[in-house]
């Protein structure tokens, strides 16, 4: 556990996502009008403005590929000073290629990180109650 790091703030628009993360499950917001996933979630659909939204569980076996990444050699926020170099990536979900999630690729050397790298979702416990979705190499 790492109490120095920022903990995702739950809001009226995003709490099903983070409640799911706390249960080690990926829950995505979906628009009933255009049938598109809306991530990050919001008060209405960011693609069509639709107001009929539902939440859909993707389960806990989530695989994807690195779509893009950066490597930070400086902590731009408190709590990350011991995690350098820090890899921040956009990951494309294999099952849902239109959904791309931003997260860290953990335990990955700067030589290994590349676009297309296969990864899978894991959950890092931030506190006893809260968990954060993350990625590791497959």
């Amino acid at each position: 556990m790492d109490n120095q790091k920022p903990i995702p703030v739950k809001t009226q628009d995003n709490s099903p996502y983070w409640d799911g993360a706390d249960r080690h499950e990926l829950i995505l917001q979906k628009c009933n009008s255009c049938q598109e996933y809306s991530h990050p979630p919001g008060p209405s659909c960011a693609k069509c403005g639709g107001t009929e939204l539902s939440w859909e569980s993707q389960g806990s076996e989530i695989s994807g590929k690195v779509y893009s990444y950066i490597i930070s050699y400086r902590p731009f926020l408190p709590g990350f000073q011991d995690d350098l170099p820090l890899i921040i990536a956009i990951v494309e979900i294999d099952k849902l290629p239109n959904v791309r999630l931003i997260g860290n690729v953990l335990q990955c050397s700067t030589d290994d990180i590349r676009i297309g790298l296969p990864v899978k979702m894991i959950w890092k416990e931030l506190t006893e109650e809260r968990s954060l979705p993350q990625w590791i190499q497959v």
Binding site: K5, P6, I7, P8, V9, K10, T11, N14, W18, H39, P40, G42, A46, K47, Y67, S68, Y69, I70, I71, S72, Y73, R74, P75, F76, L77, P78, G79, F80, D83, P85, L86, I88, A89, I90, R100, L101, I102, G103, N104, T110, I115, L126, L132
Partner: protein, 387 residues
């Protein structure tokens, strides 16, 4: 739609002192910049009946600025915004003048961007940030609190798809640093950058090293806009607005995961159509450069080189003096200073006016210039100006 081409003009530009630590307030700097622009235009404060500014809650208000210039204008307006807000506010000013509400508008950006609130981050409360940014709780817990990281995610993918290399980023940096050597007011005046040195510099946030970042500074800039008719009788040489356009696109302002489109892709055809010119007619450019890569993506968007050939375009020296498109000729935000784009607009006005005539800083035969604003893939604005 009424054509506004050539019917409005920028008649004055000015700036405060530029530093890393102004030791003063944004209001003081805004007053300095406004007085410099008024002096440049040959106008008095009472001639300005509209004041506008943009900020990220780090400036003074237009009301304050007008008050301490001793005037009571008809119209004051302050918006939240950064890159491309200069172009958008100039468009607003044109609309207000066109509808007869005001005659002459002063637009400014004032910020202690170095010693005060830094866009690049630092010292922020992390829970505040999660709420301040749209989708903030999906980036801040991952350590992604700096624009360099958000822009970097775009850059890595775009470079991968188009074959751009770190050396191409280096050509942007070394070209602009070279311009700064002719501008005694530039932050990196007297500090040239060679490609060898650029490539030796360690990454701060891959794919960027410190030279790929803009030079955050404390300063204020101001611009005065009026009708072409009023401009005719003024003291300064008017620079006419041929076209101006803006666009919002991409669903989230900070959580960028759709890399296929940027707002500039939509602005480019609109601004060229309005101005009645194409990229081949542009002699000088100010291209928003919060990070080096942003310049490369905009060269593509604005049609200066096709996708896949932008790297060669900059490697051939086309951004330098004597190249096809001398750009950011005061050094740009990478090496002159940073006022969220406005300093680049000041420079394009001065180039198109031929203010540097007789010196090696003047782009030869430059009659038409473009300035492009870019807040991210989500917001862009651009303006084409002529002598």
């Amino acid at each position: 739609m009424v054509s506004i081409k050539d019917r409005y003009a920028i008649v004055g530009v000015g700036e405060s002192e530029r530093s890393k630590n102004s030791g003063t307030t944004p209001l003081h700097m805004a007053l300095d910049a406004a007085r410099a622009a008024l002096n440049d235009a040959g106008l008095e404060a009472k001639d300005i009946d509209g004041f506008m500014s943009y900020s990220e809650h780090d400036s003074c208000s237009s009301h304050q600025l007008a008050t301490y210039l001793g005037v009571r204008p008809k119209y004051v307006k302050d918006i939240m915004g950064g890159g491309s807000s200069t172009e958008m506010l100039i468009a607003d000013a044109v609309g207000l003048i066109e509808t007869g509400q005001v005659n002459t508008v002063l637009i400014y950006r004032s910020m202690n961007g170095r010693s005060g609130v830094r866009m690049g981050g630092g010292g922020w409360d992390v829970n505040m940030l999660q709420n301040a940014f749209e989708g903030g709780s999906f980036i801040i817990p991952y350590g992604a609190g700096s624009p360099s990281q958000w822009f970097g995610l775009f850059a890595t993918r775009h470079m991968h798809e188009t074959g751009l290399t770190q050396e191409h980023l280096g050509h942007v940096c070394t070209s602009f640093y070279e311009h700064a050597q002719r501008n005694p007011k530039a932050y990196f005046y007297g500090k040239p950058l060679t490609m060898e040195e650029y490539k030796k510099t360690p990454y701060l946030s891959f794919p960027f090293n410190k030279h790929d970042f803009c030079m955050e500074s404390d300063e204020a800039n101001a611009i005065i806009v009026t009708s072409a008719e009023r401009a005719k009788n003024g003291k300064s040489k008017p620079v006419y607005i041929m076209g101006i356009s803006a666009r919002q696109c991409v669903s989230h302002a900070h959580y960028w995961n759709n890399l296929d489109e940027v707002a500039a892709d939509y602005v480019a055809p609109e601004v060229y159509k309005m101005a009645g010119v194409g990229p081949e007619d542009i002699h000088v450019a100010s291209i928003y450069d919060c990070y080096s890569w942003v310049v490369l993506r905009q060269l593509e968007a604005y049609g200066f080189a096709p996708r896949g050939e932008v790297g060669n375009f900059v490697a051939e020296g086309n951004l330098r003096m004597g190249g096809k498109l001398p750009s950011n000729t005061a050094g740009g935000m990478l090496s002159e200073g940073y006022t969220h784009g406005m300093n680049n607009v000041l420079e394009i006005v001065r180039q198109v006016r031929h203010e540097y005539k007789g010196t090696d800083r003047q782009v030869e035969n430059c009659e038409i210039g473009i300035c492009t604003g870019w807040a991210g893939p989500d917001i862009a604005g651009a303006m084409i100006l002529r002598n």
